[in-house]
């Protein structure tokens, strides 16, 4: 026969553990019910060609994936494009052509200042292409890079 005290204290311990477990996880609902879901975000760095601002990837309700640049600024230049590259991060003036780095072309840079959107091809693997680069195609130079992190 097990003494009553042991049983009581075992029960007390168990309920305490249960109580602790209860307090461990919270799940506040998001207060924003955006049609577009924010997938990833990151900030630009680039000193040689002064690049700054934020890059954010949204997925819209219809499945379309959009890259949006905000508070964005870079230096103007010839044949500058926005690309996604399969690297964790990139230094100024990196030559992705020489490195043989895989990339996804998103289009010509629309403006060197201001908010702007770019469509990302549907089959793009965002787990692989982790960095946005403002890339001068004529001289194969990275003006600025924004490593993306899950939002």
């Amino acid at each position: 026969m097990i003494p009553k005290v042991t049983l009581t204290s075992a029960f007390a311990l168990l309920s305490l553990a249960y109580g602790l477990q209860q307090s461990a996880a919270s799940q506040d609902s998001t207060k924003h019910s955006n049609e577009a879901k924010t997938l990833e975000t990151g900030t630009f760095h680039g000193k040689v060609h002064q690049t700054s601002g934020r890059a954010t990837i949204y997925q819209q309700a219809d499945g379309e994936v959009i890259l949006r640049l905000t508070n964005f600024k870079t230096s103007n230049g010839p044949d500058v494009h926005v690309i996604l590259v399969a690297v964790k991060d990139a230094d100024d003036d990196t030559n992705f052509l020489k490195n043989g780095t895989a990339r996804v072309e998103l289009g010509k840079l629309k403006g060197n200042e201001g908010d702007q959107n770019y469509e990302i091809p549907r089959n793009t693997d965002l787990a692989k292409f982790q960095t946005v680069s403002i890339y001068c195609e004529r001289f194969n130079a990275n003006f600025g890079a924004a490593p993306l992190e899950k939002f």
Partner: protein, 169 residues
């Protein structure tokens, strides 16, 4: 080149023009030097029309200090002007009297893990849970241009569990 050839060349200005002008044009096209002064500004709207929903104003990633801490801290502002802090993918260790506070990233005390002085903070409330997504109301008076660091702070022992430097979204 001897001087006679030079003289002949300058005599025939059309040769100079025919060779020089295309070279200059090509150099201009390649380097586009005027772009050093010319800015192109765009202002596209967000790819969704939901200004009725709270929008992120600031965001940052949590970095571990005294205890393993990770996740994202974001400040949202609703159309009514109310702001709140939202933690997502959040994990820290459980502890006694742990609070969520805002501190100034310029504050020297914030660099310590075990704070010896007094950390200048804005209190957002006791930590609701050590895991999971959670929201905290921001006081209207909170100046995020100064208090730009979210800190998971153990008030009992003045220990910084982790912190996130906020950057404009």
């Amino acid at each position: 080149m001897d001087s006679r050839l030079l003289a002949w060349l300058f005599g025939k200005k059309w040769i100079l023009l025919g060779v020089g002008v295309p070279i200059l044009a090509a150099a201009w096209w390649i380097f586009r030097p005027e772009k050093l002064w010319v800015n192109v500004k765009v202002d596209e709207p967000a790819p969704f029309s939901s200004n009725a929903d709270p929008q992120p104003q600031y965001t940052g990633l949590l970095a571990a200090r005294a205890h393993p801490t990770s996740g994202r801290a974001s400040i949202y502002q609703g159309p009514d002007g109310r702001r709140d802090l939202r933690l997502t993918d959040f994990v820290t260790s459980n502890g006694p009297d742990v609070h969520v506070v805002l501190a100034q990233s310029s504050d020297g005390n914030l660099k310590q893990t075990f704070v010896k002085g007094r950390l200048d903070t804005i209190e957002l409330g006791p930590l609701k849970a050590n895991q999971g997504d959670q929201n905290y109301d921001l006081p209207d008076s909170a100046d995020l241009s100064k208090y730009d660091d979210v800190v998971i702070y153990c008030e009992r022992f003045n220990v910084i569990f982790g912190s996130a430097k906020l950057a404009k979204f």
